[in-house]
């Protein structure tokens, strides 16, 4: 693993990287896609449904960016609308009802910034996912496969285990956005990328992710086989946890605690 933080950002954004649907096809068998949030629309930027992990039925949800220009436009470049997050939550609740574990693939520069997205409550949709995912009583594993862009990524990552591909990034804001707000200069994105600590190693050091997945042979059968066996192993382990919701609460409860100072009176 090498390269500057900003080089990682560019790698994470590379349109040739496998996308959510590639992971679903590579890892699972017999994916059946379900559409719509039952409230407003179907968001092509989020794909979800049921599939088999070996023989185990699982609910799979992925943010999909697409590869070709046409696909990417159709998928809104992987920037979900509120209806995408609401579809994801609907499928997660369905998974809980039928006792299926949930696997999410995260790859977005962020939730879409648009007029319609605001009119339909982008903030509320993300907030509801964070709220509801915190107590779902089935195991959740989220994998950041490319970009983990802020709240729009977190809305699919309130999980028991969060993993990252070695060249994936996970950040509170894009380095360009950070540079333009703080230094009024988007060209300082490189400095911002380094300062934001957004690489997989940084995220692991901060205790935000548990595992970094090697990109050796990325996109090939062996690569997906490796992730499949890791998922199986981890789901076995999580199924032994008698109080998953408590463990998940503690996982997030501890975030940033060591960064808080208590002054002496």
């Amino acid at each position: 693993m090498s390269g500057t933080a900003y080089e990682r950002v560019k790698l994470a954004r590379d349109s040739k990287r496998p996308t959510g649907l590639d992971y679903i096809k590579g890892i699972f068998k017999g994916f059946i896609e379900f559409h719509g949030d039952r409230r407003y629309a179907d968001d092509p930027a989020i794909v979800g449904g049921i599939a088999r992990l070996d023989d185990r039925p699982v609910t799979v949800i992925a943010i999909e960016k697409g590869h070709t220009a046409k696909e990417r436009t159709h998928r809104n470049f992987g920037m979900p609308h509120p209806e995408g997050y609401r579809k994801a939550l609907r499928l997660m609740k369905q998974a809980e009802k039928f006792g299926r574990p949930i696997v999410c693939f995260v790859d977005t520069s962020g939730a879409y910034c648009g007029i319609g997205a605001e009119e339909r409550g982008q903030g509320q949709a993300i907030a509801e996912n964070l709220l509801e995912m915190s107590t779902l009583c089935v195991p959740i594993i989220s994998i950041v496969i490319g970009e983990g862009g802020s709240g729009g990524a977190l809305a699919l990552a309130v999980a028991d285990r969060v993993w990252m591909l070695q060249n994936a990034v996970y950040s509170v804001i894009s380095p360009e956005g950070c540079a333009s707000i703080l230094w009024k200069d988007a060209a300082k994105a490189e400095t911002a990328a380094a300062s934001l600590k957004l690489t997989a190693e940084d995220a692991k050091n901060l205790g935000v992710v548990e595992r970094i997945l090697s990109e050796h042979g990325i996109g090939k059968a062996g690569f997906y086989d490796r992730i499949r066996s890791l998922l199986t192993e981890e789901l076995d382990e999580l199924s032994r946890d008698i109080d998953l919701a408590q463990s998940r609460y503690d996982r997030f409860r501890n975030a940033g605690v060591s960064a808080v100072i208590k002054v002496q009176a």
Binding site: A111, Y112, C113, G114, I115, A117, E118, E119, R120, G121, Q122, G123, Q124, I126, A127, E128, L130, L131, E132, S134, T135, S150, G151, L154, A155, A157, V158, Y170, S171, V172, I173, G177, C178, I181, L182, T191, S195, L196, K197, L198, D202, A203, L206, V208, R248, Y249, F252, R253, A255, G256, V257, S258, A259, V260, I261, K262, V263, Q264, A265
Partner: protein, 286 residues
């Protein structure tokens, strides 16, 4: 600390809100211009009117002024006042920035939390501070709000929260982002315990705070004309290359689109909240 005291506002009203009749400053009364009606008012007159202009414009209010306005006299007991942010990522310029805003705001962090009574009803109360990095949420803000909800569960108290925030604090990177999940999980526990949470959105409530505890309350109120949204208006304009509709991302806009329960002006908030607390069996204190 001596320097901090020296730079703190001298006017008692600035510190404590409407504790007494407005005091004339001997160096001449400062005036404030209303961005809505463009009239100028002596600051003390605005303070006496809860920082609401005669045209109805709600000026931004400091967290402690707000608590003073909402809570029963001398009922507020602050919690977690000792917590503040470190610079966990060693982010360039963050330490200096924190030092400066601490002096300007007189606060240690971007939220003030505690227990209080409103109209005799015991509750947990938090008010975010716009003068502290625009109420941005870092690890300390997340920890204080989470702890407050946990305290409320333990003591079976409702939570009233006044939000004002530019979103997650980018200088703490991923740790700030995680506060969205952390506070949400605490809100959920409080909700599952059958307890009431009322959020009052004030100008501006945006980003990661909108996308977490601001939008997770049982009852969501807002002050008139406040900016309420997720993404920044400028970012949306640049992304979509479309002109934004009139009144986009205001309290009135989110009310019309079904995301808040009601808009409540400042002078009515105390009695409105008292009523709601009474309707939810708020434990009356003698």
């Amino acid at each position: 600390m001596a320097l901090l005291n020296f730079l703190k506002p001298k006017n008692a009203l600035e510190e404590g809100g409407r504790t007494s009749a407005p005091v004339q400053r001997d160096d001449g009364e400062p005036e404030k211009k209303c961005p809505n009606c463009h009239k100028e008012f002596p600051v003390s007159r605005l303070w006496a009117n809860d920082l609401v202009c005669s045209c109805g414009h709600h000026f931004r209010m400091k967290a402690r002024q707000r608590i003073q306005m909402i809570a029963d006299k001398e009922s507020f007991h602050e919690l977690y006042a000792d917590m503040h942010a470190d610079n966990p990522l060693g982010f360039p310029g963050y330490d200096g920035k924190i030092e400066t805003v601490r002096v300007v705001s007189g606060e240690r962090e971007a939220v003030v939390c505690g227990t209080a009574a409103i109209g005799g009803h015991a509750c947990c109360l938090f008010a975010m501070e716009s003068y502290f990095m625009m109420g941005s949420m870092g690890s300390a803000v997340g920890e204080k709000i989470t702890s407050l909800f946990e305290h409320a569960v333990q003591h079976r108290l409702p939570v009233i929260g006044f939000t004002v925030s530019g979103g997650a604090r980018m200088q703490e990177g991923l740790l700030s982002l995680m506060q969205m999940a952390k506070t949400s999980a605490a809100v959920k526990r409080h909700s599952d315990a059958g307890l009431l949470y009322i959020a009052v959105l004030t100008d501006p409530t945006t980003g990661g705070v909108t996308a977490s505890f601001a939008m997770e309350a049982d009852i969501i109120l807002a002050e008139p004309g406040a900016t309420v949204g997720f993404a920044g208006a400028r970012v949306i304009e640049q992304t979509t290359k479309k002109a934004l509709p009139d009144g986009f991302q205001t309290s009135e806009f989110v009310l019309e689109h079904g995301f808040i329960d009601s808009i409540v002006t400042r002078p009515k908030q105390r009695s409105y909240l008292t009523d709601l607390l009474a309707l939810h069996d708020g434990r009356a204190i003698a």
